[in-house]
């Protein structure tokens, strides 16, 4: 059994933005159920002892927690390389300085569009863009490396060249161009988000050209959407293989979307250690390795390359979490993706909200 390399710490589901593609579950956790500072400190110590090298402090919006400096310090003191994944709109220079002092290593700042009006419509927050630009400056002034994260989809892909310009103008050393992955709120809004094949091909060409043009200055990571794929992604590098997430309420998950699979019970850090959850829980062992695989994954040459794709997507699209991911051309359900693409014509969507 491998030890995990990275921990995603979803500190809260609270967020001033309401992005229509949010990767949080549709059932959001309330503040009263969130883990305490001390509980997170224990999680970080246990993660480091288990073999994790990096932590991603995420949410929701991590800086919505009033103890974010203490949480960052605890992650750093545990020996973890500490990334913060933020919308940036709650940052001020004093908080940025305290986070740096606490040992923060890197900031990933989200941007919803290059055009401020487009960004307001997609993120559902007025005045977000100037605050994000200011946040980028604070990160740079603090001497921390900055990644800009641009989630792309049918409603902003026409601005991709300008998003790349924005990353350069805001001083990012790295840009993630991430096509939406269809879980949670994104799945609910899929018809408004799915890109056309032409949009995807254009985006890929634009990214390839920009990588060459800005070599040594801007690293671009590119995440493709699997609705146009014929092979599934190696989701999380395999279930329970390299990665674990802890939800705001303390559930230990093989990926942040895993709670969308109904009928699965995930261990809680309030009842068990991370090591016990990783090594011994039924949830982590359910889809680990290849023994669980049915046809056409069983015996497939790609079984240890893509690990059957994504369990959450298999469940969301077929109702069976053990099915081959429909993103695979060998899946009997592969036609579902083409059907979804042909139905994706609306511009109507629902904002993320607490229910």
């Amino acid at each position: 059994m491998n030890a995990p390399l990275a921990l995603l710490a979803e500190l809260t589901h609270r967020c001033p933005l309401r992005c229509l593609y949010c990767s949080n579950p549709v059932e959001l956790t309330r503040a009263s159920a969130e883990l305490t500072t001390a509980e997170w400190a224990r999680v970080f110590d246990e993660a480091a002892a288990l073999g994790c090298l990096q932590v991603h402090l995420s949410g929701g919006e991590p800086t919505a927690r009033r103890d974010i400096v203490a949480i960052t310090a605890a992650a750093h003191e545990a020996g973890l390389y500490t990334n913060m994944i933020t919308a940036g709109v709650l940052l001020d220079a004093a908080l940025m300085a305290r986070l740096k002092e606490a040992g923060l290593d890197h900031v990933q700042l989200s941007v919803q569009d290059s055009d401020p009006q487009g960004a307001e419509r997609i993120g559902g927050m007025k005045g977000a863009q100037p605050r994000k630009e200011a946040a980028a400056r604070m990160v740079r002034d603090a001497g921390l490396p900055l990644t800009l994260n641009a989630v792309v989809h049918r409603q902003n892909l026409h601005n991709l060249p300008r998003l790349i310009d924005l990353a350069l103008a805001w001083g990012a050393g790295r840009l993630e161009v991430a096509h939406v992955q269809y879980y949670g709120w994104a799945l609910a809004n899929r018809d408004a988000l799915l890109p056309t094949r032409d949009q995807l091909d254009d985006a890929t060409r634009i990214v390839d050209a920009a990588r060459l043009a800005h070599r040594g200055r801007l690293v671009i990571d590119y995440v493709v959407p699997d609705y146009h794929a014929s092979r599934p992604k190696a989701c999380m590098g395999g279930w329970g293989s390299r990665f674990l997430a802890v939800s705001p309420a303390g559930r230990v998950l093989p990926c942040h979307a895993a709670e969308s699979i109904s009928g699965m019970e995930f261990p809680s850090v309030r009842d068990t250690s991370l090591r016990d959850a990783w090594e011994n829980s039924a949830a982590f062992n359910r889809f680990r390795g290849t023994d669980w695989m049915p046809a056409p994954c069983r015996g497939c040459d790609h079984a240890e390359r893509d690990w059957g794709g994504c369990r959450c997507q298999a469940f969301a699209l077929t109702g069976d979490a053990a099915a081959t991911d429909p993103a695979c051309g060998l899946s009997p359900h592969h036609g579902l993706l083409a059907a979804a693409l042909s139905e994706a014509t609306t511009t109507e969507f629902r904002y993320r909200e607490f229910r």
Binding site: Q54, Y81, N83, D105, L144, P145, G173, R174
Partner: protein
């Protein structure tokens, strides 16, 4: 030309697996032996010639062979965003 680590990049000893890892923003990679030898000499003070000299002496190898390897390795590390020159 004096290479140094990009902001947020450092060599880290991975105790659980007893190996050296290049830690970077939301990324990590395990350098091969050649890359590790080069990265250990990247200190922001030593220039490329200095790194080549140090490795040629350490491995008692022809300087031009070492120079080719080191330049190729640094070029790759720059492309990955791990090192700036």
């Amino acid at each position: 030309m004096t290479p140094r680590f990009s902001p947020g990049v450092r060599l880290h000893h991975d105790k659980a697996r007893d190996r050296w890892v290049v830690m970077a923003p939301e990324r990590m990679f395990v350098p091969d032996e050649t890359a590790l030898e080069v990265l250990r000499l990247v200190d922001g003070a030593r220039d490329v010639d200095g790194i080549i000299d140090a490795l040629a002496a350490k491995f008692d190898a022809p300087r031009d062979v070492i120079a080719t390897d080191v330049r190729a390795m640094l070029d790759d590390l720059v492309a990955r965003g791990a090192v700036v020159t």
